[in-house]
Symmetry: C2
Subunit: 467 residues, 2 copies
């Protein structure tokens, strides 16, 4: 047995360290059924055990790959043969829900859905929501600064985190479990760990900001005849609905057709033939007056010529159906093999961007499929491309077509999925040399031996390579 | 002339470098009329000039103190004799307001009020607002992560910044002018500079997130008979008003009496005799229905026994009067000499905290004055103490009384004002050794020579002391 593995086994006990087939049988990410190549998976039960694990790995210059619910899309949780996986799967406690401070303190392995339910049981809301809610963990949400469906109202994961505890590469426990909305006592260290994909520390506990639970829901699906109308509609509903707009999800027609045609379970609530369909949702405090307002604002938009067609959800069931349609991303499998992208760019530049991507694809492939949808209110588009046979050379060519036009538009190769290994090559297309150098300086400062998730986000450092 | 000063003068031209009496005549912070002791004040006109200034200072191991509107309260902009001030006063341009992306790009020296007005002219809102709006600059707001009156609705300055440009200690220009709500392409470097009080870089440009301008305003002043009712009221109005609650400002009775009695210009809108007075404000989208909702929610609170008394602002003038009363902090001068504190702590612990502070003061001084008010919805209290003659030994004793009881409550010695030099001694009362060590590691990584605002937030490093 590898020396570090036997030391970890002695330190934490054999049930905490998976080996051999128990490791091989594990997945490593969404759409990555395995085998997991890691030389061991360590499953600590406490922050202290995470600390002791990292201390031993630090001493041995042993690279470690933190793992949460394994629903990431960019390879951020995939270990190589010489690496050890550190899974938070036994640290799932919801330690405290405190309605008085409207906070919840949880271990990092707690699944998002369990957190949503615990908040709900206290008549409060934890607003982060995304398709993987049943499997993803809050630690993974923090590590990737997850976005999801309600960013326009409640922000990214970053905005929902008041404090956290992280273990640094050398095993130092950094406990920063702030519960206040305001705390300007020195640097706000939590931001180092949020969105850095496990490369600067392993998050072990989190203090979440809870919100009052909405008492009213309204939703509508509308169609628009050009992109300028979509943009004007966003401004109109955001202003008109006060602080209650909670989603503004745009579907380009090819996506809408896909999720409303056989074998999809949903039928089209609005006729085909419009270039854009928008799912609009508001969450408020009074069903009667909020519905009145919602209908009034959409009526004004109709009068102003922004809408080509519209249908209001008249019940909870109708609203759920609109969301089920929007969330039915499994239909994308009908286009397989596919490449999926998650980009952000200034809203006014979107139509030109999509045109350029389509033209770029058409220049290289016959009959390319390009399906676009996304959280438009956040500047975030998901672009799904189906061309050729899905092999790696094709993929690289598609990446150039999809990521290239972002460069002149100030866009980002990752809106919400992160960089991992999948997009590392393109980080420099969204960030300057000076920015990447500053990231390296931070990595070097907090993990000088480069043992934490090496090669994710940034190239593995030479220091680690020497170890 | 000092060697570095002459080099800077040659590099930027004589009008960019103030010397002698021109320096002495300057203020260094709020309530600090001067003289400014710096050996020079450099006033660059462009990011490139900031970069050239820092490169020269870096080479010379010359400490630099960045300066904005000089309205800070914690000594963060005060230079010593051997230091050079770097003022952003000639970089005040509002470079672009872009309604399509709802962003504004400004130079760091732009005053907050000019930014508010520019947003307003485009029928948009930049929601940051604080008393110093006419003098403070956005660069200073960013450096201190300023809070203010509407944090409960719109967050701190941090939440309003999409991108920024900063110059690092060695003159490297880090341009990260992101305009999207979502960008997970690597570490989010802006958070390093927000709230680090000019110790990690000098912010030169900022991309601001603008919001739709509210179309309705409602406000009320209410009285409550005990703190549990105040806390329950917060939950009730936050839930009942949907996303529109924009302020929940609590005044303990002594503060209320101070701002409603001669020579203050305002008379008490509600009778004296209640322990707590709360200014509640909502900003929404429809005056008629929002007012109806506002009155309904307060009516329910009254029925539930949460309110001892209430008065609604029936007009813009009445609302402005309520705010003028709350903002009339000049009345605190009647208690001079005073010490002012800005703490945050979990809301449920507040009454016990205030009792403990009062008891601590009464144990040491005869007839101490302790006036409390604050942004309660954010967990933020301002505590004003008047005892003894206001000398430094008295002040240190008062600090122990005010900051001490925060330690067991997980509170912070700085909610929104920052640490500067004034609170440096107490940083360890709100942050662990591990947290402070991590802050030092970051400082060391970005400013290894310790030339940027040395001694602010953290003790000056040995490295700088050796230089």
């Amino acid at each position: 047995m590898d020396d570090i593995v036997s030391r970890l086994t002695r330190e934490l006990g054999p049930d905490a360290v998976l080996l051999g087939d128990d490791v091989r049988a594990r997945a490593t990410g969404w759409g990555r059924p395995g085998p997991c190549l890691a030389k061991a998976i360590v499953r600590p039960r406490t922050t202290d055990e995470v600390s002791r694990t990292l201390r031993l790995c630090w001493e041995a210059h042993q690279p470690v790959v933190p793992q949460g619910g394994l629903t990431g899309l960019v390879g951020g949780t995939v270990p190589a043969e010489h690496e050890i996986g550190l899974s938070l799967e036994r640290m799932t406690a919801i330690e405290a829900v405190d309605p008085a401070t409207r906070t919840m303190t949880v271990e990092a392995g707690a699944p998002l859905q369990a957190i949503q339910q615990a908040a709900d049981e206290h008549d409060l809301l934890f607003p982060l929501d995304l398709g993987a809610r049943g499997s993803c963990t809050i630690g993974g949400n923090v590590a990737t600064n997850a976005g999801g469906n309600r960013v326009i109202r409640y922000g990214m994961t970053r905005e929902m985190i008041l404090g956290l505890e992280a273990v640094l590469a050398d095993g130092t426990v950094l406990t920063s479990l702030n519960k206040m909305l305001k705390n300007n006592a020195g640097y706000d260290l939590k931001h180092l760990f949020i969105g850095s994909e496990g490369t600067l520390g392993i998050v072990t506990r989190v203090v979440l900001r809870l919100r009052e639970k909405p008492k009213s829901h309204n939703a509508a699906l509308v169609a628009a005849s050009d992109f300028a109308n979509v943009a004007a509609l966003l401004a109109a509903v955001d202003g008109g609905l006060g602080g209650t707009l909670s989603a503004f999800e745009v579907m380009w027609e090819p996506f809408y057709q896909l999720v409303t045609s056989e074998p999809a379970r949903n039928r089209p609530p609005l006729a085909y033939g419009h270039p854009y369909y928008v799912l609009i949702e508001s969450l408020g405090s009074n069903q009667e007056t909020d519905t009145e307002r919602f209908e009034e604002v959409l009526g004004q938009a109709m009068t102003a010529g922004l809408l080509a067609d519209a249908v209001l959800a008249k019940s909870r069931a109708e609203r759920d159906k609109l969301w089920a349609m929007r969330d039915d991303v499994e239909q994308l499998g009908r286009l397989a093999p596919i490449f999926t992208y998650d980009v952000s760019l200034p809203i006014p530049t979107m139509p030109g961007y999509v045109d350029e991507v389509r033209a770029g694809l058409a220049a290289q492939w016959r009959d390319p499929k390009c399906v676009v949808f996304g959280h438009l209110g956040d500047g975030n588009l998901h672009v799904i491309v189906s061309v050729g046979n899905g092999d790696l050379p094709t993929r690289r060519k598609v990446e150039e077509v999809v990521y290239g036009p972002l460069r002149t538009r100030g866009g980002s190769v990752s809106a919400e999925h992160g960089i991992g290994t999948e997009k590392r090559k393109y980080l420099s297309w969204s960030r300057t040399e000076a920015e990447i150098a500053a990231m390296r300086a931070i990595k070097q400062a907090l993990d000088p031996r480069g043992i934490l998730n090496p090669g994710k986000v940034l190239e593995a450092t030479e220091i680690h390579a020497r170890a």
